[in-house]
């Protein structure tokens, strides 16, 4: 034990303790993939990530028994679910009817100012003789209906039934579910829908509560459930499983490789500690910089083990293979190559961070810190740990035969490989399929998505993910624009283009519209109109004494503050967002003809038709374009680094050549075999370049002066890298699989091509001992 041992033990302990206490993990995929730059994407991101909508479970209760009392069951379930921790509110279709009276009671005073989005036209129409007669007929029908006793008080306050107009604009379904054998409940929780850890016990409690109650009802009912929290729970489960699976597999393969090549437990022990330190330092710094670290960063980051292990492997192979007994001296000799290799790899990751793909910035930082840590530990700690034990770490496998074979046929094979590779690339490239659907990179949740769609189709007429977005700098302006949109959508609904829509109006209206409505009513409260109304009442046998007086309602304007003080806010929660000096109002759309709806709002200032899926996929196209640029930029930056180091363009090109050929061959293969290629495949290719250039540098520089020794180190390190990325292929997550099947073959092809494509002035072929 020397001071380096103590220093390393102290450093490792400190890193592990800090990591355990300071690192915060997240598992939600949207946070990793989406970042809102435009109002639409900001809204999509915020509504996915933090909105009230994301905190809700949607419960569909069904029964096959016609006599089962679903109303009583749902009421009992409602009462019991309220006792579940973190459940803040529950409502449903039946419940809505019960609170309907209180909504009406609160809104009746505002019936005049909220009457119409187009008061000039609609109020003039209201006071026509025919309209008044129809309304008198409606009053009579209402009084004689089974609801007559309840409606009487409303009719006395509002004889013109203006509240009815208000209700009809809400888009409420009237008892649509009543004669069917199902009912719905919405359960809102107080915690973020993406906090899977907090949501899991709530979900379990909901299921347990249902089962217990259903047992009392002899199992007459069944439950279907959906909601963002459910997706989070499943995603977290999948990602956690992936991280565990990938880490275990990666580490196991690395251990097996290491033991079979070096057959040294001591070497394995020291390298393992270096890698643990590397991952701990990366996690810690990334978490401190970003405030959290995503589990996918960890999963992709663990492949860094395969990259970072290269440096100690080179150090061990060179120390044990060279004649120098001093491992510090041998490491010092290859240090410039290691440093340059590390720099080129980091350059590749840094290039990735310039894509506005949010997760990549984390990965870039994670990789940068990891590579720096691994390099520094390899250079300044590992030689001292190895001292005295270097002979027992000598690799037991040589690769001289391959090197000799390539050397012998080099001239002829070079042309064949270069020509064949380029032709292969050209044939394959024309047939490449590009995939720009970001959803396909998310964990596969096919069953959950299908169930979600089925439940929502029972519960709501809204088409998920499509809406009209109004954007303005203040709330009043946004409301005014929203009212113009309402008029247009109402016309589309009449034409049958739009089946239904849910707008913030008439829950809230602009002050301007409220004043206009009041002014038009005032102007129509004439003796002549009063007489017309009374005639209509008499014709239906209705009491003129009780209903015949037309009076203005003296009420202050309905403000947002007043509305938000009512308990009905949740009916439109998520429909308006006020953030960063911007007001966004959304109108949910039912079944509709997308082209026609989009055409109607096209050109309206501050109004957009939004398709959430289109936004996400447009983002994917942007990301792909950026990634292609960054791939070229990354390759160029690496090239520049090589030119600076070697002060010779040809040498730089020569070192880069195996990496580029490897990329061409992999891309060609995807095209030839009809594989679909996406953004993460491109990212993988950039990593191939960054990693393979290291091999080129080591091979070209050959600092040990022993080509076989250098190649041996390259082979071992490329095998560990390929093994690490190959293990990603066993993840369920398509994003990780994409990386696996681009980097692993790319790295293998890259190192195989090094001796063939890199022109060295002096090639010394000798078997390492």
């Amino acid at each position: 034990m020397n001071r380096y041992h103590f220093f390393f033990a102290a450093l490792l302990s400190m890193l592990l303790i800090s990591t355990a206490f300071l690192v915060e993990f997240r598992t939600d995929v949207s946070d990793f993939f989406f970042r809102g730059d435009s109002p639409e994407t900001a809204l999509v991101a915020s509504s996915i990530q933090s909105g009230e909508l994301a905190q809700r479970y949607i419960l569909l209760i069904e029964t096959r028994h016609d006599d089962a009392d679903i109303t009583a069951f749902v009421q009992a379930l409602d009462a019991k679910l309220k006792a579940v921790d973190h459940v803040v509110r529950i409502w449903g279709m039946q419940r809505d009817q019960q609170v309907f009276e209180s909504i009406l009671a609160d809104y009746i005073p505002y019936r005049m100012q909220l009457f119409s989005p187009d008061p000039e036209k609609d109020i003039a129409h209201l006071f026509q003789e025919e309209t008044l007669q129809t309304r008198a007929g409606h009053i009579k029908s209402a009084l004689l209906s089974s609801e007559g006793a309840r409606l009487k008080s409303v009719i006395l306050q509002d004889p013109l039934l203006l509240t009815g107009d208000w209700v009809s604009k809400l888009g409420f379904g009237s008892q649509e579910m009543a004669d069917k054998n199902f009912s719905g409940l919405i359960v809102e929780t107080a915690v973020s829908g993406l906090d899977a850890q907090a949501q899991r016990p709530i979900y379990a409690s909901i299921l347990k509560t249902f089962d217990a109650l259903n047992a009392q009802y002899k199992g007459d009912f069944s439950l279907r459930i959906t909601g963002v929290p459910l997706f989070s729970i499943e995603v977290q489960k999948q990602v956690s499983q992936d991280v565990q699976r990938v880490s275990m597999l990666s580490v196991t393969m690395m251990i097996l490789l290491f033991l079979s090549v070096f057959r040294s437990i001591r070497g394995l022990f020291w390298i393992s500690l270096i890698l643990i330190s590397t991952v701990a330092a990366s996690s810690l710094i990334t978490s401190l910089m970003f405030g959290y670290i995503h589990a996918l960063t960890m999963a992709i980051g663990t492949t860094l083990i395969g990259v970072c292990v290269d440096y100690p492997i080179h150090a061990i192979v060179h120390a044990s293979g060279s004649n120098a007994a001093d491992s510090e001296a041998s490491t010092r000799r290859i240090w410039p190559s290691l440093l340059l290799g590390g720099l080129t790899t980091v350059t590749g990751y840094i290039a990735l961070s310039f894509t506005s793909y949010p997760g990549m910035q984390q990965i870039a930082l994670f990789a940068g810190v990891g590579i720096a840590t691994a390099l520094l530990l390899t250079r300044y700690i590992l030689p001292h740990l190895m001292q005295g034990h270097i002979r027992e770490m000598q690799p037991r496998i040589g690769f001289g035969a391959w090197l000799r074979l390539l050397h012998h046929y080099r001239s002829s094979m070079r042309l064949v490989v270069i020509g064949g590779g380029l032709i292969f690339f050209m044939i394959g490239f024309s047939g490449l399929n590009w995939m720009d659907d970001l959803n396909s990179l998310s964990p596969s949740l096919t069953e959950l998505k299908a169930e979600d769609q089925a439940i929502r189709s029972h519960m709501s007429s809204v088409e998920p993910g499509r809406f009209i977005l109004v954007q303005a700098s203040d709330f009043e302006t946004a409301l005014q624009i929203n009212e113009s949109v309402f008029i247009k959508l109402q016309a589309l609904k009449k034409e049958g283009v739009l089946k239904s829509f849910h707008s913030l109006y008439p829950w809230l209206a602009s002050a301007k519209l409220q004043r206009e409505n009041l002014n038009y009513f005032k102007g129509n409260m004439t003796a002549e109109n009063r007489e017309l109304w009374q005639q209509a009442l008499r014709a239906e046998g209705l009491s003129v004494k009780h209903l015949g007086q037309l009076k203005m309602v003296e009420t202050e304007l309905l403000s947002r503050e007043k509305f938000e003080s009512w308990p009905y806010k949740h009916y439109v929660s998520g429909q308006y967002v006020i953030q960063n000096g911007q007001v966004l109002i959304m109108t949910w759309l039912g079944m509709h003809d997308a082209e026609k709806v989009e055409a109607v709002v096209f050109g309206m200032a501050g109004v957009r038709y939004v398709s959430q899926r289109d936004i996400v996929n447009n983002l994917a196209v942007d990301y792909r374009t950026q990634t292609v640029k960054m791939l070229l930029f990354g390759a160029f930056a690496i090239f520049v680094l090589l030119v600076i180091r070697f002060r010779h363009v040809f040498i730089a090109m020569n070192i880069l050549f195996p990496a580029l050929m490897s990329v061409f061959i992999v891309m060609g293969a995807w095209g030839v075999f009809g594989e679909t290629m996406g953004m993460l495949h491109l990212i993988g290719l950039l990593l191939v370049v960054a990693i393979c250039v290291d091999y080129g540098i080591f091979f070209y520089e050959n600092r040990a002066g022993n080509q076989a020794l250098t190649f041996q180190a390259i082979v071992i390190s490329s095998m560990t890298t390929a093994a690490a990325f190959f293990s990603l292929g066993f993840a369920e997550n398509p994003a990780l699989q994409a990386l696996a099947w681009s980097v692993a073959p790319g790295v293998v092809i890259g190192f195989l091509l090094c001796p063939l494509l890199i022109r060295q002035q002096q090639i010394v072929v000798q078997e390492s001992k």
């Binding site: 016609d66 109303t71 009579k140 089974s146 007559g148 006793a149 004669d179």
Partner: protein, 204 residues
């Protein structure tokens, strides 16, 4: 609270209304409402079985209301519209008649006793059962109900008085017969008619 007079008892009156087989009546409905200057009249047929209660209003316009223990369906022939709603337990909003009739016809006497204070009065060949909602079970719109009938017979008159002073009188008679006779059609025919009416009310 139960107060009974003469030979009729509340239980015998209530049990008398329980049906085992489908039956039908003609009815005449008269509503007296504060907001209507003249009483409103309607007439039609009423059908009852242990499972269903159906009102087939024929005048002044067609309206079919059918209900079982949990649901109520309404077809408004005037506006060609259908509506439905869940009902459960004894009494649901706006359906006092339905709830009362269902409870009577299915023999849910204990439920009725729990919800109403009942006063039975009998004079010669007539009986009257007054049902006043118990305060704790009372809905703000709940009504005072009076059932009247001849001795040893089911009710031929039902009056519902609402809290706001409105009241409705239902008179049950046999179509084409005297007021004393209830129609006694073959149960199969009544069942078939009920099925058709339920279909009409539910639609589809």
């Amino acid at each position: 609270m139960l107060i009974a007079y003469a030979e009729e008892t509340i239980d015998t009156v209530l049990i008398r209304h329980a049906v085992q087989e489908p039956v039908q009546f003609s009815y005449q409905e008269t509503r007296h409402m504060q907001l209507l200057d003249v009483p409103w009249k309607a007439s039609g047929k009423m059908y009852m079985s242990p499972a269903f209660f159906i009102v087939e209003q024929k005048k002044p316009y067609r309206l079919v209301m059918a209900s079982n223990r949990t649901s109520l369906w309404l077809y408004d022939g005037k506006n060609k519209k259908r509506r439905s709603r869940n009902i459960s337990g004894y009494s649901r909003e706006g359906s006092s008649l339905v709830a009362l009739m269902m409870a009577l016809r299915t023999g849910e006497i204990e439920i009725l006793k729990a919800r109403y204070t009942m006063i039975l009065s009998a004079k010669e060949h007539q009986w009257a059962l007054e049902m006043i909602p118990v305060e704790s079970a009372m809905d703000k719109h709940d009504a005072r109900i009076v059932l009247r009938g001849k001795a040893d017979q089911a009710a031929d008159e039902l009056k519902i008085e609402y809290a706001d002073g409105n009241h409705t009188l239902w008179e049950f008679t046999a179509e084409g017969h005297t007021k004393e006779e209830h129609t006694k059609e073959e149960p199969e025919d009544v069942s078939g008619q009920m099925k058709m009416l339920v279909q009409e009310a539910r639609g589809g």
